[in-house]
Amino acid sequence: MRSETRRFSPICRYLRNRLFLTGMIILTPMILIAVFAPIIAPSDPLEIDAVNKFQTLSREHPFGTDEFGRDVFSRVVHGATISLRVGGLTALLTAIIGVFIGLASGFYKLLDAVIMRFMDGLMIFPGLLLGILLMAALGPHEFNVVLAMTILYTPRIVRIVRGAVLEIKTQDFVDAARVIGVSNIRILWRHILPNCLAPLIVQVTFGFAWAILVESGLSFLGLGTPPPAPSWGNIISDGREFIRNAPWLMIFPGLMISASVLGLNLIGDGLRDILDPRLRNIRSQPESTAG
């Protein structure tokens, strides 16, 4: 009666996946750095020290100092907090909004036509261009960066959720739920949503990585998190004039961006394989990378 297949504990299943495991090994330290930045950073990331400008790497300043003598190591560490916060918040917001719109769109035919035209409209703009426009309109503020990126990325989540809903709503168990008198709303929440979670989680992970990249891109153009806040994009932006003499200003934050994006994409790929191997069509979105 009970199936014979051995069931590994869920955590085991995740850790047996190489992609996921590697991604986690890369991302976990990032998260720890972001959370404990005030403890890890040796000095205030905003503290100006005009005497010690452009110091190269040393014991005291492991990543050197910038044009204002600020400790780059401290700035990069605090940058992790900002970049992961902005990326994470964007991922969360797109997930929440995308789920609502995607469920409605996939389930109600009339809404679908309207919503999808609107989403297509958003998606035909090149990501960064629309981002620039939005930031110019909204004004510089960390939350506005999140907002702009949410507007940019939500259509992708909507597409994924809607696709999953369209597939799941034709399944027999949805019918079976109707037959026992379950209302539409309850069918959506209880029967359809949980079955859409796998593709959603995968896409949101990619969205997280995407947001970190786009935030850096916007900051690099001076349209992201307003300076002097040390987001990684801002640090790079500050350092670009001095790339010949002080390359460390760009290298370290650049490495952090690459590492966290790589880590998240690996996790996304891993989750895709673990949760549902049929989801191969969901990929990270390299064409909208910016910076």
Binding site: D172, V179, G181, R186
Partner: protein, 340 residues
């Protein structure tokens, strides 16, 4: 037919029409279906694939799939016309007064919830006054009644951990969760199961029916199942009922040429009998779009007469009490029967 007696019947369907509005045209998939089921009896609904059996069941629950619409007719459940009820009233009826069991127990359970949780949902929807503990106790009782061993443990099992037969029992437990449905619709409930399990499940239906005085609408391809379980039989062809009779009478004195074909196909060829499928009537179900103004069975019928059957759709006639046939050539068929 029996205007003021409609509440003698648990289910009384009259002139039910369901059309599909497709890009290529309107398909009259149900074209005037009449059915009735008495209290405590089992009505078998037979007919070949695509004739509209499942659609009839769904229409009774008012769950016709897109792009279908119920165009006409009345559906009385103990005298109350379901087609005029608002949707929220109809929802109260589904799963409580009318339950349905599907053909595929593999896919009719949601993979993300334990079976106990899923049966509990019926109670959450229809018996909101029950506490969580009461619901759980009731579910365990139901699982036990459905013949599932160690129900306390099975409560927490997920559908994939159960065999097909066990899942079908879960689905049946779900159909009975509210206590006493007036009508249980079973759409090929055993087709997906192997023969021994099939027999057990049918036996279970019988027991439940005896205990609860419940009416069953049993949809099947399988005349063997009909012979064992049904009290009365409705034979469906291309969206309408062509013969309606007592089960004994149907096997002894079927009159519609289509019914005769069905019976012959299980009596004559052992392979078909083994598979118990009805594929051997020559020809195929006609395209719904070219059956107007003649008998639907015209092109496949051995008894057809061009001037009679090719001119208009025959009326349902009552050849004796409780035995109805939609055929204009009944005399010819009786004559033929006497000769052979």
């Amino acid at each position: 037919m029996m205007e003021n007696l409609s509440d003698r019947y648990v289910l009384d369907v009259r002139n039910l029409k369901v059309h599909f509005f497709t890009d290529t045209g309107v398909i009259p998939a149900l074209d005037g279906v009449d059915l009735w089921v008495r209290r405590g009896e089992t009505l078998g609904l037979v007919g070949e694939s695509g004739c509209g059996k499942t659609l009839t069941a769904r229409a009774i629950l008012r769950l016709v799939p897109e792009p279908g619409r119920i165009m006409d007719g009345e559906i009385y459940l103990t005298g109350e016309n379901l087609l005029v009820l608002p949707e929220h009233e109809m929802r109260k009826i589904r799963g409580d007064r009318i339950s349905m069991v599907f053909q595929e127990p593999m896919t009719s359970l949601n993979p993300v919830y334990s079976v106990g949780n899923q049966i509990m949902e019926v109670l959450t929807v229809h018996r909101s006054a029950m506490t969580g503990k009461e619901k759980k106790e009731r579910v365990i009782e139901l699982l036990k009644a459905a013949g599932i061993p160690s129900p306390e443990q099975r409560f927490f099992d997920y559908p994939r951990q159960l065999s097909g037969g066990m899942r079908q029992r879960v689905v049946i437990a779900m159909a009975l969760a509210c206590g006493n449905p007036q009508l249980l619709i079973a759409d090929e409930p055993t087709t997906a199961l192997d023969v021994t399990i099939q027999a057990q499940i049918l036996e279970m239906f019988r027991e439940i029916q005896d205990k609860m005085d419940m009416s069953i609408l049993l949809i099947t391809h399988d005349l063997g199942v009909i012979a064992e379980t049904a009290d009365r039989v409705a034979v469906m062809y291309a969206g309408t009922i062509v013969e309606y009779a007592d089960v004994v009478k149907l096997f002894k004195r079927a009159l519609h040429p289509y019914t005769l074909g069905l019976l012959k196909s299980i009596l004559q060829t052992p392979q078909v009998r083994a598979r118990r499928r009805l594929h051997t009537i020559p020809g195929a179900v006609p395209d719904f779009l070219d059956i107007r103004n003649k008998c639907r069975f015209f092109s496949r019928c051995a008894f057809a007469h061009k001037n009679i059957c090719g001119q208009e759709e025959p009326e349902m006639i009552e050849v004796e009490p409780g035995h109805l046939v939609r055929c204009a050539r009944v005399e010819k068929i009786e004559e033929h029967r006497r000769r052979v």
